[in-house]
Subunit: 406 residues, 2 copies
């Protein structure tokens, strides 16, 4: 049997990041940056006023009160085309560019001028009532960042504030990794479409829905192709549909019957390769990985919880790497078991609720751990990872828990 780690490494060796593309900034939130971004210019790009007030030369207001002629009016958005001379003031708005010659701004509240309403014109003279230091009430060019400085690292998942920063730098498009395109398929005569009425002996297709949502959550473009019947031709047809759509990866979860997967095996091997591994894990021990017509193929088990865990542990890191992210699995936390937990010696992923009180995270299982019991996964917010070789953990044992994303 392979360890989980060995199986994942063998899979990851087959994946490297996809090509990159330029995305309009407006659509770039949550995309993965494909290049490190550096500032092309200083920010602020020019000295500007942080208040509404009057631009002055500090030496002219060393003794106050002092009355100065107002020689210009500088609104935000207009570059002043004059030089402030000795003994002059210029009205200036918040964000407006400081005129040459000036070296500070006096706040309007520290003058005798109170008309701040839109459109009010500047006075002819202003009485300055408070001294200022050089640079006071200014935002100096380059105070926030310098041209050439690294802003955002390659691999960053773009957050709203990152998008804003790129806008501030005038980046109308952004270099991002292409989204991996993933086909989700299943097979099995026992699987009913979701809108079909219940039928004795049959169950609704569950896995294509779960796996499609997981792939989307991993940043993929998803093609949910649904369920093929347990026939060679039906399975070949659905896989060829994935190939024609140009997907990067095919993720299949077989129906629970042995027969279903045997046909998948035959079809994949007719135009590719498929390795069957027994992985030392629970749930999800049987895992198939290979390629069909050159496209990587994951064959996950059919039980709903097994396919969920198999996707998280094996497919998600591969898809993350394709999409330009670190393959590493998600963050784990240390938790304390509130109850005894039995395992069977395999690396086990057990559904649990982790709660945090007084700084301590404790975990309780959410129900029986049968691999068909999806409800216990719905009730869970974490998977406890019981290492291989461990068969029982008394209450109070500290174990690793993998927090499930919302």
């Amino acid at each position: 049997m392979l360890s989980v780690h060995e199986a994942r490494e063998r899979i990851l060796a087959q994946f490297s990041p996809l090509d990159t593309t330029r995305c309009p900034l407006e659509l770039a939130a949550s995309r993965v940056l494909a290049e490190t971004i550096r500032a092309e210019s200083d920010l602020p790009a020019f000295d500007n006023s942080s208040v509404d007030g009057f631009a002055v030369r500090v030496m002219d207001v060393a003794a106050v009160p002092v009355r100065l002629p107002v020689v210009a009016d500088v609104p935000a958005g207009k570059a002043p085309n004059f030089r402030l001379q000795a003994g002059q003031a210029a009205r200036i708005m918040t964000g407006a560019m400081l005129p040459a010659g000036a070296d500070a701004v006096v706040m309007v509240e520290d003058t005798d001028f109170g008309h701040r309403a839109a459109g009010a014109s500047a006075p002819q003279q202003v009485c300055i009532q408070k001294t200022v230091r050089p640079g006071e009430n200014l935002r100096k060019r380059g105070a926030d960042l310098r041209a050439g400085q690294e802003i955002l690292p390659k691999g960053q998942v773009l957050r709203p504030q990152d998008i804003g920063m790129l806008a501030m730098l005038g980046a109308a498009t952004v270099p991002v990794y292409r989204k991996p395109k993933v086909a989700i398929v299943s097979s099995g005569d026992e699987l009913l479409p979701v809108d079909a009425p219940p039928e004795d002996g049959k169950i609704h297709d569950t896995n294509t829905y779960t796996l499609a949502a997981m792939a989307a959550q991993t940043g993929c473009e998803v093609l949910r192709l649904g369920v093929a019947a347990d026939r060679r031709e039906a399975i070949q047809a659905i896989l060829d549909q994935a190939v024609e759509a140009g997907v990067d990866v095919i993720v299949s979860s077989a129906g629970v019957s042995v027969g279903a997967f045997d046909f998948v095996k035959e079809v994949v091997e007719s135009a590719g390769t498929l390795d069957f591994w027994k992985v030392n894990m629970r749930p999800g021990k049987p895992l198939a990985f290979g390629s069909y017509r050159g496209i990587p193929f994951f064959g996950l088990p059919g039980n709903p919880v097994s396919s969920f865990v198999g996707f998280l542990v094996f497919a998600r890191p591969a898809l993350r790497r394709l999409g330009g992210l670190e393959a590493a699995r998600q963050d784990t936390v240390r938790v304390v078991l509130a109850e005894a937990v039995e395992s069977d010696g395999r690396e086990s992923y057990l559904r649990a609720v982790v709660t945090r009180e007084n700084g301590i995270s404790t975990a309780r299982l959410t129900g029986h751990q049968g691999s068909g019991n999806l409800f216990s996964l719905v009730q869970a917010n974490a998977l406890l990872i019981i290492p291989s070789g461990v068969k029982s953990c008394p209450p109070g044992t500290e174990v690793e828990a993998w927090l499930l994303e919302n």
Copy 2:
């Protein structure tokens, strides 16, 4: 001055959840459930085999080895239409429905039959080599959940496993809250479109990008209308565009100039109301809230960090409530300051990096806290909340930190 809490409560009083709609299951991931979902039937819906093997009556295999005639073959997906009689066995596949009369399954590994390949026919007789207990290797009807049991609560943001669970229950469509539709606008003659070359005295429009991404992250449908010039007609035109698009909320961030906001005020008040509040917070002290042609209107400050914080603190809770979520602000953690932090007595939201080591979270500011310094927000992963009335915190002080979403 209003406290942050008072201002938020006044705003929230104006909002209640939007109407609900039915969403195809395939599109329901991350949507907010509008009704509590209960199981309509037991799961599993019928007793079924958890292994490939032979369905038997326990009393017939009390003494082993014993040879039994194989009277039927039960694949997954077919309802058996016979009753197992005393002394009979039936081949059965994983997931297949248990025939009436049988009360356990013997694994194929515990028999003399090894042909498990797809399409292999059942033997005429099988030699059972191991006894079984009643119910062994069965998944009993209702073992995972019972008809009527609550599956998912109203207000749940649907995760992949929830989508799978709904598929399992045959829910082809799901009741969800309608997504709030939000218009994002800005105004100011100093604001350049993102694709315009830099110009002295002007800056690129940043806020409509940041705020649009924040609204999308909050689960909204977003209409980014861009920047209006500092003219009454331009501002009225952009607001009317939002009204005609049928948005639920308008979020505006003014340019940094006073003039810009004065025109916004005039236009909004010409067809609605606008309250101007000074909120005891930093950044983001000036806040306007009202309605334009019956649509709630948020007037956020123009500085990039102020509008970011204003959105998080005031608009986000309102949009969450509209969308059927709890309005409550996001989770906070307690962190220890690694350095002295000065404040000015207002409730302050300071950009910081929180790191966790040996179970202790420590925080450091990411740079100068000017409200135009978006780069310090890009470098941050949290906002430290310094309560009102506090002016300085020595290193080692424990404060609340609001973790920023990815």
